[in-house]
Symmetry: C2
């Protein structure tokens, strides 16, 4: 059967349920802990910060399929299904016998897969009758996505945006404003935790960890507000499973079985969403795949971090999560472009990685932009720097196939577009981009501050 350049599912084929990979894991991810008592967080405790129904999803590690509400399905139909693309032109140019596929999540105004979870979280907040939401954003993809979802459902939103991104990406801020969100650069003087961080380091360029602390404080100190998060959490991976479900349905329809599945990993939302249904099949003994997480060498939580309980945020106001972490005080170099700046990693992916079910690779940003530009010229899509981490490894694997003659099927997640990352591209075009790799001492220093659990 001839595989088209792009496979679009029709509406009937689109997933009607989220898939919860934890249900198929024998050893479950470790629970979130209350930082005061060091006991597992109860639903009641979590509901002070998060929406009620999202807390249920967060804690549920036994139900494999969870219905997607009709309102969310309607919203999905506006920008989904996303295409599964056969990269014929790339294969030709590389001269590789490998078959390359990518699931492209960038064809929406937020520019990434983040919208999949944003609309779900906004929907449950609306259903609960909340007055408003707070969140953080790094590169701005999540903030944009949540602004769109909140505008659609008419919910006020306050976004804390990592300061270096806020300055590098003024246009992202304008998109959020166009969708009606209030945007504050983080660390800011609008929260107690922000003031503390600025008192220690007035020039702090921010981190996701800082911004999370501020957004959480803002939520718990404003009546009727809750905090929502775009990555890391189990609930987010659950919503993002639509990526993998669509991909698997499309591949099954054409009788394609990927040998290697590659995704970039910051907090794990895209990677977790893409691999979940495939990992589920593997956990149930139905198939075998090679899973590769790709992270920046400047923020290498899988490859150089520790699997331990840590704070999710710099301000240490959030629950503790057991995850691969560089320590919550770790802040990647400001010269690191784009997202994937988080010190930790999804607890679910961390557990899968710890069980040896997944590999991880760290790549340097100049080689990532080289891959991005190569890909853009051949496949036409200017990729997000985040997504380009996955492109880098997909190219590496396709080139290996050229050398060995193996006809492997490679699937990667192209999470988004780089249209708001042109300052980083400009630095690359001008030959001004450098690599930055933290020293062992840098990492040891932040790991030494891990909480004692």
């Amino acid at each position: 059967m001839k595989i088209p350049y792009k496979i679009y599912l029709n509406e009937e084929e689109m997933p009607k349920q989220y898939y919860n990979v934890r249900a198929d894991m024998k050893k479950k991810p470790a629970p979130l802990l209350n930082p005061g008592t060091l006991q597992p967080m109860t639903a009641a405790e979590l509901e002070q910060v998060f929406c009620k129904e999202l807390v249920q999803q967060e804690l549920d590690d036994t139900t494999p399929y969870i219905d997607i509400p009709a309102e969310i399905l309607s919203f999905y139909k506006m920008y989904r299904p996303s295409p599964l693309v056969r990269a014929y032109e790339l294969e030709k140019k590389l001269g590789t016998p490998a078959h390359i596929y990518y699931k492209f999540e960038g064809n929406n105004t937020s520019g990434s897969h983040k919208l999949n979870s944003a609309i779900a979280q906004a929907y449950y907040a609306k259903k609960q009758g909340l007055k408003g939401l707070t969140t953080e954003t790094g590169a701005g993809q999540w903030g944009t996505a949540l602004s769109m979802a909140c505008a659609y459902l008419d919910i006020p939103l306050h976004v804390f945006m990592v300061k270096c991104s806020y300055e590098q990406k003024p246009f992202r801020r304008e998109v959020m404003r166009t969708y009606g969100a209030q945007v504050t650069p983080s660390p800011s003087a609008t929260t107690e935790v922000g003031k503390r961080i600025l008192a220690n380091d007035p020039d702090c360029t921010g981190s996701l960890g800082c911004a999370i602390s501020e957004a959480v404080e803002c939520a718990v100190t404003n009546e009727g507000y809750r905090y929502v998060l775009g990555s890391v959490l189990n609930q987010v991976l659950l919503h993002q499973s639509v990526i993998g479900l669509e991909t698997k349905t499309a591949m099954d329809k054409y009788g394609i079985k990927p040998d290697i599945i590659i995704g970039c990993a910051g907090g794990g939302s895209n990677l977790g969403g893409l691999i979940s249904p495939f990992m589920g099949a593997q956990l149930r003994g139905e198939a075998q795949y090679q899973f590769i997480a790709v992270e920046p060498a400047s923020c290498p939580s899988f490859t150089r971090g520790k699997y331990a309980y840590d704070f999710c945020d710099t301000g240490m106001v959030c629950p503790l999560a057991k995850m691969y972490t560089l320590g919550s005080s770790f802040i990647p170099s400001a010269n690191h472009a784009g997202g994937l700046r988080y010190h930790g990693m999804s607890p679910t992916l961390s557990e899968l990685y710890d069980q040896g079910l997944m590999e991880a690779r760290a790549v340097e940003q100049t080689s990532v932009f080289e891959a991005a530009e190569y890909f853009a010229k051949i496949e036409g899509i200017l990729p997000a720097p985040e997504s380009s981490h996955a492109i880098r490894v997909a190219l590496d694997e396709a080139i290996k196939c050229r050398e060995t003659g193996e006809q492997k099927t490679i699937l990667f997640g192209l999470t988004g577009t780089g249209y708001f990352d042109m300052i980083a591209y400009q630095r690359y075009n001008d030959g001004e981009m450098r690599d930055y790799i933290p020293t062992d001492e840098d990492i040891a220093a932040s790991l030494s501050k891990l909480p004692k659990v």
Copy 2:
């Protein structure tokens, strides 16, 4: 039959031939004239500026269907078919009985429909063995599109970018550079015509007309180079007919017949492409439609211009075209956001308009941005300012239907996304956007300089 939110044709259903609406016109568009002799331009004369095969397409007003070469079809498969979207959410929010559809051309890195003609023109240049191409770009969509096409086919490209856009849209410039193009702000001191314009007005913020003159001069003074244009010409409308052909196939498949077809009009590439197959059906007596061209009140060639022979460029180095024009010396206010800044209009569309086969409306930019923001919040897509002209009139027509109770089917062209137009959105968000309407004296002054033909 239930109409899905988005209709995607499969590869077999995609058009394999361009449609040439001139073949079905009894009275043809007037020929281009040699500005020296005032005689119709011959193929030999045109080939000094344009590629050979494109000249044939320019002059051919009798062949209805022209095969799309296989290489172009392959490229199209990377980003086409574009979705035909049923705006269910918009209809619901408006409370209108009208059915609203839009053909969305923004899901590619150039952000607009311009890529459809860019790849065709680059392909014919490559086939002819040319050394390189020159072009102009206003808002930057065409320049980006041509950069992508030239990168794919490995052809050097020099882009003259209207200076006010070059300054307002530095990121567009970086996208072009990422795709390997050389970008010069226009008017520039790199050409004779640019020097003349700057001598008259050193603060000139540029216009498409100026940039065309510079690009043409650069092409004819560089051995093996040719000039390509993203709008106005018959060949461009021919390539853009893929928009209308896909739309008509998708609508026919579901038994939908549009009553009103709306497109924004600058030089006419999108509008001409969208309406061509429908206009053809009407010219052949097979159906009736209401066609509406929407132009900015700040550059109103259809509604306030004159149908006359005029220069296509400010420097008066190009052939004369018979078209609706404000005069080639007309330069819209620099506070006008985005594209649709051209003083003239496609000769084909001008002839159709003159024959009463099409209506035109001029809209002011604050009402255009109001429509854009409304649309973005409901349909999720942040539209280009250009496309938002069509949205404005589509909303107006849908609201009329609400008042009259008529269940009309409205189709409009959503030509692109506004991701590189955030400065204009910011002005709108900050309440700093103003309308600008040229006075009768402004227009009379530039029309008084029309050539005597």
